[in-house]
Amino acid sequence: MINTPTETNLDTVQASPKMAARGVNVYYGDNHAIKDIDLNLYADEVTSLIGPSGCGKSTFLRCLNRMNDTIPICRVSGQILLEDDDIYTSGIDVVQLRARVGMVFQKPNPFPKSIYDNIAYGPRIHGLAAHRTDLDEIVTTSLEKAGLWQEVKDRLDTSGTALSGGQQQRLCIARAIAVNPEVILMDEPCSALDPIATAKIESLIDELSGRYAIIIVTHSMQQAARISRKTAFFHLGEMVEYGDTTEIFTSPKEDRTRDYITGRIG
């Protein structure tokens, strides 16, 4: 067991959610992939999304930073609030939104650039650093937060693609952190990694959990139990149950949740 959320964290649950879904439906053409979901996501805590394959976890996650916009046949209805703004209203700048809501993908996808440029890419396009020294500072702190600094500090100019899979994924996390987001979305960030690299990412998530709202999709129920305070169980596009992770895993209210956790559906 790595770093279970501590009791002190439990007391600091905020009243107003960082992000909230209100009656969200998603369609891919005629395929109704997400059905009427209401969900609150709080800052300073990790929320896991679990559920069998194809139940719409990734789809829901991609709604939260409007990555679904890149899929032409995808249609979203309902409200998704970031603090108090609906991110699907036309006044919202997607560029700004994605700077505030970062994302880490299932397969590590470092750019074929140097490690330095991988991290500096986001700050550069958002104009976060006025001088080279500022940029250096951002790169260093991002790598430090992602726990990668010690391993790469002597070879910042080598290609990001030359790192190991686990290092690449931490590079991607550092890249997301570098633009100073408020929320980080992670879609099965460990599914391409070995147990040791997974353990590193998990402890990293735990460290980051105080500073960012983290929403993570995972297929590993042990992982969900280890790292998240809240868990939402999805099935066939519906959200079946949402609650404290310990409760979901020890005394689920719904039969479908119990069946999934005990391995009878999935």
Binding site: N65, M67, T70, P72, V94, V95, Q96, L97, R98, A99, G102, M103, F105, K107, N109, P110, F111, P112, K113, Y121, G122, I125, H126, T161, C172, R175, A176, V179
Partner: protein, 447 residues
């Protein structure tokens, strides 16, 4: 014949096992294929043999049968006589009055007919033999499929072997003739000479008997035109590829891609007269209007039109390079809040760069080898200039010029064409190798 035996043997294979085809080791159609191949290949072989060797055999027979009066040890004389005989074969008595020749001509045509018929019957016989052989082997346990596969693979291997041998032969003859050229003209004069005028005098006592074979002006012209072409095709082709892969919707893409491919299928001679008859006069008039002197045959006209010609080439190869970039990189960039333009210029293009460079190199090598457009639009003057408004000439154009019209085969003028061809071949070969390596390396990186 092959088809008939296919049908017959196929039926027979079914009959042998009394219709119970599952008892056959191979499916009936494989028995059929096997028989057809057995019939077809020897026949074709024989027929080719007749085409290639038949005439020579007949000629030898004729020559040995000639009366002494016409016999000669001199090979030129013999070929002369043979020519007259063939004329007599075609035109009968009007062509000659020499009785010996006429007699020989008669023998020639009768031999020819005999040869033709005997080939025909021999072919039929061999075909039938093949048929009976395979008929006897049509039994339940005969491995017709394996045999057929083996025959096919041998045929295919022979074809590819032939292709390679022919290519090697061409290259060898290029090298060989070039060596003969370099015996007469020192290689450094050819490679570094600044003056090209291949007119050698017919008689030794004429003035300026030695031509000048400095290839630099030709290569300079070639590069000037290729450069102009790439200045047109590079940006336009690349931008078209970016538009088609990143911005265009399905419908536009479905129309635009085939249209570009059609553009690639236009014969170059059409581009050539478009350049010579439309673009060149237009440029001259435009130049006249602003007081610039543009030659009526200019590098610019040729370069522009050649650029248009290779646009589809550049765009479709760049298109491949761009689509090969994994979409996860694009997603990664979008997820960081990058705009489409930022993603394309800072992530997509750098990632696709090796492939795009490879595309450009292939396009350049295409432009260097292109002949028709330059022949028609750029002129013949070996002119060492960097001014695109003047007439220049290219390596390919000079090769055409050297080899059209009458010439002695041994003269340096003719041989220089081989040297130019060799140089061109080496350059495009190197470009292609570089380009393919780049493209391949790039593929490996993303697989």
């Amino acid at each position: 014949m092959a088809m008939i035996s296919f049908a017959l043997i196929r039926q027979r294979s079914v009959a042998v096992v009394g219709g119970a085809t599952q008892q056959l080791h191979s499916l009936p159609r494989y028995h059929g294929y096997f028989a057809a191949v057995r019939v077809f290949i020897p026949c074709i072989f024989l027929f080719l043999l007749w085409l290639v060797g038949g005439e020579a055999v007949i000629e030898n027979l004729i020559i040995s049968g000639l009366p002494d009066a016409l016999k000669s040890t001199n090979s030129e004389q013999i070929s002369l006589v043979l020519n007259r005989i063939q004329l007599a074969v075609q035109h009968g008595e009007q062509s000659t009055s020499d009785a010996n020749i006429l007699a020989a001509a008669e023998r020639y045509s009768s031999l020819y007919n005999k040869g033709l018929w005997s080939t025909f019957w021999l072919t039929v016989a061999i075909g039938l033999t093949g048929y009976y052989l395979s008929k006897n082997r049509t039994q339940a346990n005969f491995r017709a499929r394996n045999n057929f596969e083996k025959t096919m693979s041998i045929t295919l291997a022979a074809s590819s072997f032939l292709a390679i041998v022919v290519t090697l032969g061409i290259v060898a003859s290029l090298i060989f003739e070039s060596l003969r050229f370099f015996q007469q003209i020192p290689i450094q004069d050819f490679l570094f000479g600044l003056h090209w005028s291949p007119q050698t005098a017919l008689r030794a006592d004429q003035v300026a008997s030695a031509g000048a074979f400095g290839a630099i002006p030709l290569f300079a012209g070639t590069f000037l035109i290729s450069l102009l072409a790439m200045m047109v095709a590079g940006p336009i082709g690349l931008f078209a590829a970016i538009y088609l892969t990143q911005y265009a919707n399905q419908r536009v893409r479905a129309v635009a891609k085939p249209v570009l491919e059609i553009l690639a299928g236009v014969p170059t001679v059409v581009y050539g007269f478009f350049a010579a008859l439309t673009v060149a006069p237009m440029l001259r008039d435009a130049g006249g209007a602003i007081g610039v002197d543009v030659a009526s045959e200019s590098a610019l006209a040729a370069g522009l039109v050649m650029g248009v010609m290779i646009i589809p080439f550049v765009s479709s190869l760049s298109d491949d390079a761009i689509t090969a970039v994994p979409s996860s990189l694009k997603d990664g960039s979008f997820a960081l809040g990058a705009t489409k333009a930022e993603t394309i210029s800072q992530v997509l293009l750098p990632a696709a760069l090796p492939g795009v460079v490879g595309a450009f190199l292939l396009a350049i090598s295409r432009a260097i080898g292109e002949t028709m457009i330059v022949v028609m639009a750029a002129g013949m003057r070996p002119n060492l200039t960097a001014n695109p408004l003047e007439a220049v000439t290219t390596v390919t154009v000079q090769i055409v010029a050297l080899l059209t019209g009458d010439q002695e085969f041994d003269s340096p003028k003719t041989l220089s064409a081989f040297a130019l061809g060799l140089a061109l071949f080496v350059i495009t070969l190197l470009l292609n190798i570089a380009a393919l390596r780049m493209v391949r390396k790039y593929r490996e990186a993303y697989d």
